[in-house]
């Protein structure tokens, strides 16, 4: 089946859902503001402040160990200054995305999902740094949102998804392949269909769509390759949806590794074993981060 058929199928599955969360209205307004050429930071901060949940989440993420700001950032405005203009859009999107799927435990609980997502975000950022890819924050956010299709399937197609998880239990199959066999499409197409509905920026849509097929990426293949590799590493280092799928890979055979080496030839010398062991060390940090973002965030 070609990609168009798979995407068509994914769109049908997404359209069928009547109560698909929409992006919170404030996030949409923030995005509109940011599109204006004369956009002022104060305006954006004020807009974010009208949604307390969004505001609190922005501050929590900026203060997470990941950003390593020297001082605690207490106001939205300072958070925006610290982040820089170009990242506000992504952060607003990520926060809305968290919001949209809040409490939507499906075939797996949402926390496990976020641990994988933030794990991939953090590892993508580390790989971006090592490869000297300029926009490391973009890699981080792209990592966080790469699997939105998965959380959608887990919640809205829970019964089928549980069946798939059962089928691959203890077997060396990737979730993405099992989804293809079952639905004729998979979470990467589903995620792309959602990203389009939500007007995610194109580069992010591309990461979602191609994070299992990085060679097909056009806009920013390096970014897609980084997220693909981060995803692979998380799958084998304890940030793997609680071990629900069994992934095995040989870096030398991964197209993403080739792409990354073309972008950054020095990466070929990376000590992969040590890299993996260091990732193990960061797992608790990821878990703490996810906990801190979600603790007390559930609005009654």
């Amino acid at each position: 089946m070609d990609n168009n058929v798979k995407l068509q199928k994914a769109k049908e599955m997404v359209d069928k859902i009547n109560d698909l969360p929409t992006i919170p209205i404030v996030a949409t307004k923030v995005l509109e503001l940011l599109d204006k050429p004369d956009c002022e930071l104060d305006e954006v901060a004020d807009m974010i402040l009208t949604d307390q949940v969004l505001a609190a989440r922005v501050i929590k993420i900026v203060n997470s160990p990941l950003y390593r700001s020297a001082h605690e950032i207490k106001s939205v405005k300072r958070a925006l200054v610290f982040l820089g203009f170009r990242h506000i859009r992504e952060l607003a999107l990520t926060c809305s995305f968290i919001e949209a799927f809040q409490g939507k435990d499906g075939a797996f609980d949402v926390m496990t999902f976020w641990e994988h997502s933030f794990g991939v975000g953090i590892v993508a950022k580390i790989i971006a740094q090592r490869a000297r890819y300029m926009d490391t924050e973009k890699a981080y956010l792209a990592g966080i949102i790469h699997d939105i299709g998965e959380v959608f399937l887990s919640y809205y197609y829970k019964k089928e998804f549980l069946q798939i998880l059962e089928d691959i239990k203890g077997e060396p199959y990737k979730l993405v392949d099992a989804e293809q066999r079952f639905w004729g499409t998979d979470h990467s197409y589903i995620g792309y269909a959602i990203a389009q509905k939500w007007n995610f920026p194109n580069e992010y849509g591309e990461v979602i769509a191609y994070h299992h097929r990085p060679s097909e990426a056009v806009l920013d293949p390096t970014l897609v390759a980084i997220v693909n590799l981060a995803d692979l590493f998380c799958s084998v280092r304890q940030l793997n949806y609680g071990g629900r799928e069994w992934v095995s890979f040989n870096l030398a055979d991964e197209p993403a590794w080739e792409l990354l080496k073309q972008f950054a030839p020095h990466i070929a010398k990376l000590d992969i074993e040590r890299f993996c062991y260091e990732l193990d060390d960061r797992v608790p940090e990821v878990q703490d981060l996810v906990k801190s973002i979600f603790e007390g965030m559930i609005m009654e």
Binding site: G170, E171, P172, L232, F233, S235, V236, R237, Q238, N240, G243, W246, V247, S248, F249, N250, L251, A252, D271, I272, E273, R274, C276, Y277, D280, D281
Partner: protein, 277 residues
């Protein structure tokens, strides 16, 4: 004495670069307590001074060896490296069996290269015995354990273990393949024992190493860390040569072959990796 984070990182890097074993952050307190013994023995007051002492001797020499003895627990046990065994059982073994089956070569050869008292080799034997009715029906299984130390080889051949050795053994295997004689005495079933042969071998001995041919799986856990880089490269090259083109080579948890052998490819699986030609 509390090991400061920056000192922990110094020792971690030093040990990793010299021995190829990584100390996870979660093992900091372990390293701290073992370092305390070395500090006391050498009459040294601070971690920094002990680090200087190690660095001042080329290759760390005798003191490094003493430190390694402290930080590597020599004892082994059955089912020690579960992620590795899962990968082997679910993916790597079926893959190798399929490849060999296609060419009609129905024989598996497995080598536990530093077998100590036999736990690793016997663990493999038990796992493979369970496949006898299905995946490995009509297959010949050869498992060889080698070690430099005759005493541990004797223990391996005897096949009698204490409760500490079987602490990781799943109940299913414990009931099926061991006879418990007392609280601390477990006797391994003869069915398992007869699958494994134990031989004396020094991994440095080139003339003998070249005869260890055609293995599908080779295990060498927690031994290479004692070798200097040159010997390590030489020994690993032997493993490489003695491995079938579709076979896999395993080292211990937290070990690394980076910079030791560029020929091997690293295959990742949940919780670990294996090396492949």
């Amino acid at each position: 004495m509390k090991l400061a984070d920056k000192d922990f990182e110094l020792f971690r890097d030093y040990i990793y670069n010299l021995c190829g074993i990584y100390f996870h952050t979660s093992k900091k307190y372990f390293l701290e307590s073992r370092l305390a013994r070395r500090l006391e023995d050498c009459g040294i007051k601070t971690h920094a001074d002990y680090y200087k002492l190690l660095k001042s001797i080329p290759g760390g020499s005798q003191e490094l060896k003493k430190l390694l003895d402290e930080i590597t627990t020599n004892e082994t046990c059955f089912f020690r490296n579960l992620p590795q065994l899962n990968a082997l059982e679910n993916k790597l073994l079926p893959e190798v069996v399929e490849t060999k089956g296609k060419i009609g070569f129905r024989k598996l050869r497995i080598w536990s290269a530093a077998s100590s008292s036999g736990e690793e080799a016997y663990t493999m034997a038990m796992i493979l015995l369970e496949k006898r009715g299905s995946l490995l029906k009509d297959w010949i299984i050869e498992i060889i354990g080698t070690d430099i130390n005759e005493t541990v080889l004797g223990q391996a051949r005897e096949g009698v273990y204490n409760s500490y050795s079987v602490r990781n053994t799943p109940d299913f295997y414990l009931k099926k393949y061991f006879k418990q004689e007392s609280a601390d005495k477990f006797i391994l079933s003869p069915d398992v024992k007869k699958l494994v042969t134990f031989n004396h071998l020094n991994l440095y001995d080139d003339t003998k190493m070249i005869f260890m041919k055609s293995f599908d799986f080779i295990f060498c856990a927690n031994v290479l860390i004692y070798f200097d880089t040159a010997s390590k490269s030489k020994v690993v090259q032997h493993f490489y040569n003695n491995l079938q083109p579709y076979g896999y080579f395993f080292v211990g948890q937290s070990e690394s072959l980076h910079g030791v052998n560029d020929n091997f490819k690293t295959v990742h699986f949940p919780g670990g990796f294996a090396y492949k030609k």
